[in-house]
Point group: C2
Chain length 255, copies 2
């Protein structure tokens, strides 16, 4: 018999600037630990908040998803109001829903959407400095689009994954990228990623590589070789964290 039969799903937005990332870390304050601490105050029991995955220091979320179990049912409207009143203003719970016991924020997702914002211009923008990557150099949008399209589909993305992800065992690094749209917007460009899952630093490593290609450092025709090599050293540098937003975590309708 489950002694915590009530399962709640939280949809969370946060400005990652002042945190060491989502996940509890020995050094620095994480978003996860703050939400756990505040939710524990309200529920009067030590709750464990499970996120869909980690985000790094400086990375933002418009729709991170987490869940936690409790021994007593909650009035979700009142709970969310209480939680937001205890949380710092750079973390907000947007939605609180009771979900089936089987719902697990980390294991249940069938996909994720990330956006990466690049600000293009001769002078950086004080209002975008924490929420985009600023490039003074001109980039070739058509090359960027063409290079992005070659990464679509099912690939082993080892070349775009940092070691921390692969860990001790050689975990499966095959992922499917459903969509990688290059959207031009005022003052820059937004790279929209949708896939069934992403390896550690995969989005930032892909963005860094695509920007190097669009700046003419090498050719998009090298991308198939880079994928095939399964060698992280052949791909470009990771783009910095402040341009990255976890926009949405996708779950099957059934749970």
């Amino acid at each position: 018999m489950n002694d915590r039969p009530y399962n709640y799903k939280l949809t969370i937005a946060y400005d990652g600037t002042h945190y060491c990332g989502w996940q509890v870390q020995p050094n620095g304050i994480s978003i996860q630990e703050i939400i756990q601490a505040k939710a524990s105050i309200i529920t009067r029991e030590h709750v464990i908040v499970i996120g869909s995955g980690r985000t790094d220091s400086g990375v933002h979320a418009l729709g991170q998803v987490a869940n936690f179990h409790t021994s007593s049912p909650l009035d979700t409207f009142r709970f969310q109001g209480s939680l937001n009143s205890l949380l710092p203003p750079d973390i907000r719970v947007l939605k609180t829903e009771e979900v089936a016991d089987a719902f697990h924020a980390q294991y249940s997702p069938i996909g994720k959407i990330y956006h990466y914002l690049v600000h293009l211009g001769p002078v950086s923008d004080p209002f975008k400095r924490l929420y985009s990557y600023h490039l003074k150099e001109k980039i070739d949008i058509n090359t960027l689009k063409a290079a992005a399209s070659t990464l679509l589909g099912k690939h082993d993305f080892t070349s775009f994954a940092n070691q921390a992800h692969l860990g001790s065992a050689a975990r499966d690094a095959v992922r499917t990228l459903y969509r990688l749209d290059i959207v031009e917007e005022q003052g820059g460009v937004r790279l929209e990623f949708e896939g069934d899952g992403f390896l550690y630093k995969m989005v930032r490593n892909i963005v860094g590589t695509l920007l190097e290609i669009s700046a003419g450092k090498y050719s998009k025709d090298e991308l198939p070789m880079i994928l095939a090599s399964k060698d992280r050293k052949l791909a470009g540098q990771a783009a910095p964290p402040q341009g990255l937003f976890l926009v949405k975590v996708l779950y099957p309708e059934a749970i």
Copy 2:
């Protein structure tokens, strides 16, 4: 003979969150003093940077204007690059121009444009928290528009000016408001002010009053009486600083 015959105009954007405002203050770091200090390093003389007017702590600028005199001519492109490399990333010089000796950032303006951003929604937004005023309550946009229109034109705005402005002598408080547009945008509303000049805290006091009217606290028909009373206590509370942006300072073409 002027020993500093070269006069330069700077157009500056800043995120006011971490400053005590534009103007040098005994307590706290001002934007003016930082720009003065960095410009003095480059010019190797103690420069005085004159702004178009002060902005309060937490108030932002997209186009603040300042000027300073130097004894030697500057390569404006190189100067701006050096200045931006010395300034913190929340302050950026967008434009540097040599101007006529008569140009004075504070005394020459013929008008100013301010925007005030209001975020409307049940939950505040981590990404707007420092750049807008969040209201949970619904407001009546048509009432807001109608109330705004009654303030257009030439009035004595004493009722909307904080005492700090009026100071020792009874300074002329007659100003002309050319435009006060209410622009609906995703997630909120933007109040756009254009006038020949603004008294201390006038924009924030007007915004606060208009929002109280649109929330139904009192009627827009009371505004003419509030203006005529020249009594600050009759108008509403100042809206908070983080929603306010100095967008543009207007100067005559001739100087």
